[in-house]
Amino acid sequence: MSSINLDQLDNMHFDVLREIGNIGAGNATTALSQLINTKIDMNVPKVELLEFKDISEIVGGAESLVVGILLTLEGDIDGMMMFMLEQSSAHHLVNVLLGKELDNFEDFTEMDLSALNEIGNIIAGAYLSSLSSLTNLRITASIPYMSIDMAGAILSVPAIEFGKIGDKALLIQSQFGEDETEVNGYFILIPSLESYNKILSSIGM
């Protein structure tokens, strides 16, 4: 097994990683859709090698207000899994889930936050368990940690992890959206560099 250099990934690698994102995010989107009993579409995942200054652009700019739910990964794969929602989508989700008025966009209550955390937990779990069965690798996730803030500030946390090994970050990013685009968000899988090796070799690359 040769070690990956982020700058030397070929199309084949990107295809495989995109497929992993597809399967993981597909399961997670299904879980989310069942949770709120609504059809949710998912876009084809993007696998991108980004410079740090461009990272926050993927979710609508460094200053856009988002809810970020982060889980750290351990086991055979380490890294982070991030689930990001636009703030209005997060409101919509908790409103549906908790049976509130759909146009309730007041501050999040403790109950709302706890519901969001649980949503993060369930759908990240769905993503990771499909990744785990696909690769036959053991993945344990931490409890979900949540932050409601500017996208740039939230993404600085995984970006710093990549900063330790290089000047770019490789993200497997999937966007999902409900029919009337009321629930929009992103799953971002951020394995450590060694974990990319393990993922790719586990499926015979």
Binding site: F52, E63, G152, S156, I165
Partner: protein, 161 residues
């Protein structure tokens, strides 16, 4: 009309009066603004990590507190700033997620602040003001005309230090 110059993550830039420098959505990273009050030459660096000597791949000098500050000063001197007149204002270094474990990577904001302060102290650059730590993101703007650092955060009043 003055210009607002952007500084990205792991990036640095300098400007002259009356222009301003900004960096958006600082989280655990630290934004360091340096200023020569006489010539009004200003600089800003957005550092992600505390120490370049701990990391093998360290070509991007703006990424680290130690090398980033050095590089910024060199650029400012080239623009007419005097080393011994420089003063600083710093912001950022938040802990964005309330992690319960004491995993090293999760205290990175704190370590970034410590390293930045240490480097500034070594260089004999005074820190006039700071807005660091806590758990929220910041967008900062530094105005070369006044030497003021403006800090915007979600759900908080704009702060000027």
């Amino acid at each position: 009309m003055s210009e607002m110059i952007k500084v990205g993550m792991a990036d640095l830039n300098v400007c002259e009066c009356p222009n301003a420098l900004t960096t958006l959505g600082l989280g655990s990273c630290v934004g360091i603004a340096l200023y020569d009050p006489t010539t009004k030459v200003s600089g800003m660096v957005h550092v992600m990590l505390p120490d370049s000597t701990k990391i093998k791949k360290n070509e991007n000098i703006a990424k680290f507190a130690d090398t980033g500050i050095d590089a910024l000063i060199n650029k400012m001197v080239a623009l007419g700033a005097k080393r011994n007149r420089l003063v600083s204002k710093i912001a950022g270094g938040a802990q964005m997620f309330a992690f319960s474990s004491n995993n090293d990577m999760l205290r990175i904001g704190e370590r970034n602040i410590e390293a930045s302060k240490l480097k500034l102290k070594e260089l004999g650059i005074r820190i006039l003001a700071e807005d660091t730590g806590l758990n929220y993101g910041r967008t900062i703007e530094f105005y070369s005309e006044t030497g003021q650092l403006l800090i915007k955060s979600v759900g908080k009043e704009v702060k000027i230090i």
